[in-house]
């Protein structure tokens, strides 16, 4: 079965959509998502009506509607096709396939076809790097693209077949779990962790989490027990548990697998957390790109409610009330940052808050909130279920347990690997069948570029901290182009709140493009170094701090990739001066010598 299409009964019935979300402006992102899904656009006129329905000024709706890339005021036709544009997709032939599809459909990228049928464009990584190249069709993932699949797609689109009737196999997303450990490999009986927790009590469970040494799996590695304990102590009327399933870091897809096939484990981890911190409300912030996972996740929540694992008096424990709602993102990488995620949950543009206060004291709607990664909750459930000893016994002293690694790129077996912390890059490379690896991007663009000389480095918080991405690049790959792709990513995903990041990421992208065009000089390299310092020291949040990493690191580790491009000794403009006069020449009809600028 292909995933369920948007609820057509709701088509553009704004009052019904708003009612469904309680006419609450804090649910604006969800309301706009429903409008976008049922109408295909978020028309400017609807904003006035919505503003009245939820009782806020139109400008607040504008702010939110214009922030997220999946909302648009102009129609994208009956079919919106977005190719994932991670470097892994590019290496897998995305550009050729995109061009091929455009030719088959007679469209230009980024423009709706003349008959209003189809729109083809690109989007940031969609969490399918193991199945690259991949795309979203009307928000639903279609992996493993090749010419045959594109032919089929073009045919389906041209014959205007409704998405619900497309062959289900197009939407099938295999898990690709290549190595399973205690987290993924062992059976889990829903309710087991909760039963175990209820038998030993919340305090003892927290002690277990602490003894296990569990650290946050989102990349930063903050001790989970400390976060929970602090939230437990924090004063508030409505503690909240938030699962960060906004897996936006290019090259990461392990949360996709956890949510697709181990959702019980994740939800149970959230429920354990709820008991520990005293929360009655839980939220899963699911990235918009994972829309295809929504129906099954909803069913899992239903099943658990029916089994007494969610709702009131969970497992018969009086007063243990907890339920979970799912919020969908709308295509904004920055919402993976926990305070931006909370802003988004509250219906606002996803701009990071000033911290402190941290969410454990002042999070969702100002209440104490635990925000953890999907994998962290899964680990917590296992620890609650089985005790801390085994978990603590795996990995390294500072990084206990196992880690899910999302392997993609130039290797024989891309997919998810559950490895003990402390594993070397070389070991992972051997296991995934990467014979000619030259570099590995660990933890995505904001992480670390590891060159072939450093393959003995270990994946662990004390060496290579990782949210899970592991992109392999073989000898033939141009590391300059890898870094350039990442600078485009950051320039696109910068939230625009602070100037160093908004401008800095664009300047970096422009200079990288200039170098790629063969117009770079040593001066431009100096400029990039200057911009890096500004980003690192002045940006408001982690996105800006790390946005220059890919350039800094590849410059240092693969200098030849840059030197090859520095063809000019003297500075040269990035644009053609004479071309920039062409419009004025046409307007004035001049062609005299003063109407031209010769190249030096």
């Amino acid at each position: 079965m292909p995933p369920e299409p948007a609820d057509s009964a709701m088509a553009c019935d704004l009052p019904a959509i708003a009612r469904r979300w309680g006419n609450d402006p804090a649910n604006l992102v969800q309301i706009l998502r429903n409008v976008q899904e049922s109408c295909g656009v978020v028309p400017s006129e609807t904003l006035d009506q919505l503003a009245r329905l939820v009782g806020v000024a139109r400008v607040r709706l504008e702010a939110t509607a214009s922030f997220y890339s999946f909302f648009h005021a102009d129609s994208h036709g009956a079919y919106e096709v977005l190719f994932s544009d991670n470097i892994i997709d590019r290496h897998a032939g995305k550009a050729e396939l995109m061009q091929y599809l455009c030719e088959r459909l007679w469209v230009e990228p980024g423009k709706v076809s003349e008959d209003g049928l189809v729109y083809v464009d690109e989007t940031s990584d969609i969490g399918l790097a193991d199945l690259a190249p991949a795309m979203l069709v009307n928000g639903l993932a279609v992996p493993s693209l090749d010419k045959a699949r594109i032919d089929l797609l073009a045919e389906l689109i041209r014959s205007r077949k409704p998405l619900a009737h497309w062959p289900a196999m197009l939407f099938e997303v295999p898990d690709n779990v290549r190595r399973a450990g205690p987290l993924l490999g062992e059976p889990f009986e829903p309710g087991a962790a909760l039963a175990s927790m209820l038998s030993i009590g919340a305090e003892e469970t927290l002690a277990r989490i602490e003894a296990s040494g569990l650290r946050g799996r989102g990349g930063a590695g903050y001790p989970t027990a400390a976060k929970w304990a602090s939230c437990r102590k924090a004063v508030g009327d409505a503690h909240c548990v938030v699962c960060n399933a906004d897996e936006g870091e290019p090259g990461t897809f392990k949360d996709r697998v956890l949510l697709a096939s181990h959702a019980d484990l994740v939800i149970e981890g959230m429920t354990v957390c709820a008991r520990v911190i005293g929360a009655r409300r839980g939220l899963i912030y699911l990235r918009g790109e994972y829309r295809n996972l929504l129906p099954a996740l909803g069913r899992t929540l239903e099943r658990r409610r029916a089994a007494g694992l969610l709702g009131t008096d969970i497992l018969g424990a009086r007063g243990f009330d907890f339920d979970i709602a799912i919020h969908l993102g709308a295509g904004a990488y920055i919402c993976g940052e926990e305070s931006a995620l909370i802003e988004s949950l509250e219906g606002k543009p996803g701009k990071p808050r000033n911290r402190p206060p941290f969410p454990d004291r002042c999070g969702y709607r100002g209440q104490p909130t635990v925000v953890n990664n999907v994998e962290t909750f899964a680990c917590a459930a296992r620890i609650a279920e089985r005790g801390a000893a085994r978990f603590a016994g795996m990995g390294t002293p500072q990084s206990t347990g196992t880690k899910l690694i999302s392997v993609s790129g130039d290797c024989a077996r891309p997919g998810v690997y559950e490895v003990p912390f402390g594993v070397t890059v070389r070991e992972v490379l051997a296991e995934c069948g990467a014979k000619h690896a030259h570099a590995v991007q660990v933890s995505g663009p904001s992480g670390t570029c590891v060159s072939f000389q450093e393959f003995e480095r270990r994946i662990a918080f004390e060496d290579l901290a990782s949210a899970g991405a592991f992109m392999v690049f073989s000898r033939e790959r141009d590391m300059f182009e890898v870094a350039r792709n990442f600078t485009h990513f950051f320039a696109h995903e910068s939230c625009g709140f602070c100037t160093p990041c908004r401008v800095g990421t664009s300047l970096l992208r422009n200079i990288m493009d200039k170098l790629a065009a063969g117009k770079g000089s040593p001066y431009d390299m100096q400029e990039m170094k200057r911009i890096m310092c500004v980003l690192r020291d002045m940006a408001h949040c982690g996105l800006g701090h790390t946005a220059a990493n890919p350039v800094v690191q590849t410059m240092q580790k693969f200098p030849e990739a840059y030197e090859r491009r520095l063809k000019k000794l003297e500075f040269e403009p990035a644009f053609d001066l004479d071309d920039a006069l062409e419009t004025a020449r046409l307007i004035t009809g001049r062609d005299d010598e003063w109407a031209h600028l010769a190249a030096d």
């Binding site: 001066l577 006069l581 004025a584 004035t588 003063w594 109407a595 031209h596």
Partner: protein
């Protein structure tokens, strides 16, 4: 030691930065002890000779700006982009969001009170670029002196630092505008 040669010019700017330079008031006498002006609106010298320092105000909006800027670049050892327009394009760059065709149509054909207007095409008029550019997109720039305009104190501090062979350094107060 002889005096430093300094050239100045205003491209797509408003001369506000030059006015701010004049605002150093009585320090102008001290300045003239240190430097000798070459090409500058203050001297009316038309072309630049070899100089130690070039101060350029304004961004690049037309072909003539490019010729002047290149003349400065090839003659000045140290080239300074002075003020917001030189550094980012500034106010003139607000036209970058308007198509040049539309811009000309509005100004010469359809503006209020216009009748039978013509788009001027005399070869002596500098031909405009489709977009206004900051200086550093056209030539290499050694220093940036921000502000709209940079204050007289900032300009004085910057020039005296340069004249003394120091790396110019402005305190926070001199970069804080509100």
């Amino acid at each position: 030691m002889g005096k430093l040669k300094v050239a100045t010019c205003s491209l797509a700017g408003c001369f506000g930065c030059h006015m701010s330079l004049l605002d150093i008031d009585e320090k102008l006498f001290d300045l003239l002890e240190l430097v000798e002006l070459d090409r500058s609106p203050l001297t009316d010298i038309k072309h630049c000779g070899p100089c130690e320092i070039g101060l350029v105000e304004g961004g690049v909006c037309n072909a003539e700006n490019v010729h002047v800027l290149k003349e400065f670049r090839s003659n000045c050892r140290t080239l300074v982009a002075v003020g917001a327009c030189a550094i980012t394009g500034g106010i003139p760059a607000m036209r970058n969001n308007i198509d040049l065709w539309d811009c000309f149509q509005e100004v010469y054909h359809y503006g209020i009170g216009l009748e039978g207007g013509q788009i001027p095409n005399d070869r002596e008029l500098p031909l405009p670029f489709d977009k206004v550019r900051p200086l550093n997109e056209v030539v290499r720039i050694d220093h940036f002196l921000p502000g709209c305009p940079p204050s007289a104190e900032a300009i004085w501090k910057f020039l005296t630092d340069l004249a003394a062979g120091r790396e110019p350094r402005l305190d926070y107060e001199m970069l804080h505008y509100d």
